[in-house]
Amino acid sequence: MSNQDRKAKARAAAPSTGKGANAAIIGGVVVIVAIVLVVGAVVVGAVRDGGGASELPQGVAAGEPLEPYADADPPKDAPVVDVYEDFRCPACQVYEEYLGGTVTELARDGKIRLRIHLKTVIDSMTGGESSAIAGSSAVCALDQGVWTEYHEALFALQPESEDRTGFAEEAYTKAAEQAGLSGEALDEWQQCTDDGTYVDYVQGVDDATTEDGIRATPTVVVDGTRFDWSSVIDQQTGEVDTKTLTEILTSGDVPEDMVATQ
């Protein structure tokens, strides 16, 4: 190869090298901008806005709990019992099965102020929105005056496995019928549930309670103290010490050895 050839080759190569460098820098910038745009669009889409009808339960502010038995008009100094639950959480089903009845009775009698915080813990584990939809359907049942019955029926229909699908669509209607809804009331409840009316509300409650440090369900807080509710269930016989439970809830005092540590 002659000297001149070499020079010519170098000249020919030089500009293309420069272009390559520019292309790479521009490419890098383009990549970053593209990532920002794509991710931004995805995030906007992912923000939980539920869509459709989005309402707050009557007399309840965003993020605040339900008081299904407010009509019992508990005295001002009645102990406040906060229950954090998710219709899809297996331990919640156990809590409901063993203690639910007693707690409901005390709330109905106005001996405690029961506040229900509907959470979506299982949604955050499996993806999907089944916990939020289930919670929404329960608020719809509250609108129809059958909270207690629907709540119990839906917990009993909890899906065996925790997966993205969650409750089958029919489970809600079945629970509503078991709760005694029929005719116009059933139609109204169905419409309310199909619209996902309170899905946003339930997800908002999960946000608010998580921010307050309540991450697991079921959590029972009696006058501000976390109560290890399983301690009133005899692990051998499965019998519930209803007397102790009633004492704790109505006094608002959780004995030290029954305070939940977390």
């Binding site: 293309s16 790479a24 990549v31 923000v47 939980r48 993806g127 991450r215």
Partner: protein
């Protein structure tokens, strides 16, 4: 350039390791934005709502950066982003450890509170530091074997 040099092959391994892990980690999380948000919130370093948005975005960022690295496209830029991600993860996990939080890193889904004896901070930090080193290698020497960069831009890319 017809034969891959050893450093090019090291670069290839670094690319596939960092990119592959990011791709898998992001892919496992994209379907569950709420879970990802809760995992980020578990670190308790950002305002609650900011952490929520970061949680939504993170899986997608990981997928895109991981894909670029695996393909070897815009290697320097994507390895910079990959390295920054790993450094951020190491810092996040370290502060959780130091503050005595008991969380799962949520790196591949999961996340949130775990029992004190279930934390794996040491292992998680070691893994992410290793991946950060892969990123640093690529940052310093983005030329790798079997990359789209070389296929598309030729050897010029080496110098940028």
């Amino acid at each position: 350039m017809t034969r891959a040099h050893v450093p090019d092959l090291v670069g290839l391994v670094a690319r596939l390791l960092l990119g592959g892990v990011l791709l898998v980690a992001g892919g496992l999380k994209v379907g569950n934005p709420l879970g990802s948000a809760r995992a980020v919130q578990g670190y308790d370093v950002m305002p609650f709502e900011v952490a929520e948005y970061i949680g939504y975005a993170l899986p997608w960022i990981e997928v895109v950066v991981g894909l670029l690295l695996v393909l070897g496209l815009f290697t320097r830029t994507s390895s910079l982003l990959g390295t920054l991600l790993m450094v951020a993860f190491v810092l996040g996990i370290t502060q959780a450890w130091v503050r005595g939080l008991t969380i799962d890193c949520g790196c591949f889904g999961g996340g949130g509170q775990v029992d004190a004896n279930e934390t794996e901070y040491g292992r998680e930090i070691a893994r992410d530091l290793g991946l950060a080193l892969c990123g640093v290698w690529l940052l310093v020497r983005p030329r790798t074997a079997y990359s789209l960069d070389r296929y598309l831009f030729g050897d010029a890319k080496e110098r940028t």
